[in-house]
Each structure stands twice: as C-alpha cells, then as structure tokens.
C-alpha cells in the first residue's frame, strides 16, 4: 500500500481551517458562524487523525473522540443560547448584540 503523503493532509487541514476563519469573519449570521466553528474543529480532527496514523499512535484518535464530545456539547449549548437570543431580539444578526459595549 502506498500511503498518501502527510503533506496533502496538512494542506487540506490548513485550507479547511482557513475557510472556517474566513466564514467567521465574513458572515454576520450567528448560525453560520457556528457552522464555521464546526468546520475548524473538523480540520483539527482531520489533522490529528492523520498524525496519529503516521506516528502509529492511537492516542490521537482518542483525542478526536474527546474533541467530538466537546463539539457536540458546544453546539447544543450554543444553539440554545441562539434560540434564546432570537426570542429576545428577533434576529440572529451578531451586530445587534453589541449592547455589552456600553
């Protein structure tokens, strides 16, 4: 079996992470910002699986399971906060939520 060079996975993960950063900076809808955070977490997961495979260490995959757990918890709480925020302001635009500045 000819393995894929790890460089490709590094490039792919960096690209995915940058797309996530771009989405967080680019959009104003809070739901899409959450999705871009998920995208960044997945880029990190992919890189961790790649390194754990190439280093013969299954601990990386265990850490990916923990990251998935934390991501699931974060999405649940974040979407609950989002529903609450929508109930108060009737929008998901993050620029409306600048009241903490004053």
């Amino acid at each position: 079996m000819n393995p894929i060079p790890i460089q490709y996975y590094i490039f792919l993960s960096a690209t995915l992470f940058s797309i996530g950063v771009l989405g967080v900076l680019y959009r104003r809808n809070a739901i899409i910002i959450f999705m871009c955070i998920e995208l960044m977490l997945n880029a990190v997961n992919l890189l961790m699986v790649a390194f754990s495979n190439y280093l013969n260490d299954a601990g990386g995959q265990v850490f990916v399971i923990f990251i998935m757990t934390v991501a699931a918890a974060e999405v649940a709480v974040g979407l609950a906060i989002l529903v609450l925020m929508f109930r108060n302001t009737h929008t998901t635009d993050i620029n409306v939520l600048n009241r903490l500045k004053w």
Partner: protein, 150 residues
Amino acid sequence: MVVFTKNPVFSVLYLIITFFSIAGHYVLLNAQFLAAVHVIVYAGAIMVLFLYVIMLLNQNQDTEPHKSNMVKFAAVICAGLFMVVLVGSLKGTDQLLQGHPSPDSGYVKNLGKILFTEFLLPFEVASVLLLAAMVGAVMLGKSEKQSPKA
C-alpha cells in the same frame, strides 16, 4: 460553499457534504471507527440540530444584511494570510515522520483498549461534560414564563 451561500439551509447541506468527505478521509487513514462515529455524530445529530434551529427561527430565506465591502475584503485577506502562515509553519514536518502506518490501529478493539485504560479519567469527565451541556441546553431553552414561579 458553506461561507458564500446566502441561504443558511443550503449552507448546512454543503457542510454535510464536507463532513461526509472528511469521513471518507478517516477511512483512508485506517480510522474506521472514527469515520462511523463522525458520520453518526456530525451528519446525524449536529446537522439535524442546525437544520431544526434554522427552521425554528425561520431563517430559510435571505434576510441577512451584508457587511460592507471593506470588511469582506479584510476578512478574505486575513484568512489568506492565515492559511499562508499555517502552511509555511507546517511545511517542514514531513522529515519528522518516519513511521509506517499500521493497518489496524483504528479498529474498535485497539481504540477501546486505550480509551478505557490510559484515558479513563478524561472519558468520565467527558460524560460529565455532556450531562452538564444537556442540562444547560434544557435550562436555556426553557420557556421564560415558568421561571418566576420556581
């Protein structure tokens, strides 16, 4: 595609495609158990949650006021520079890696053995974290009218 689509529902669908391709990469990397877990957790649970919230909040049309062109341009520049920095800093890592991948490292047997011996305490802490997140989500999502009574 996830970023630039105007409609949030289509954005979620593109994100599901991305997650399935990442699961395919996991299979290529001998992590079959992680691929299955990834498909179940992300494409099954998290995306359903996203779609449900989008439908609940009635966001499935383009009502989003857009940022100014200056901010968009700055965002693109920042993300591009960030990617250049990441790739540049990770470029020299291939000399570090000499090991050959073993074909069975991602199976449930090996993974479970490590998870329940070496990483037992983080595993329990993760379960407590999930419980706390569940309680917190229910508390936050509860209707406001019942709270003064309690």
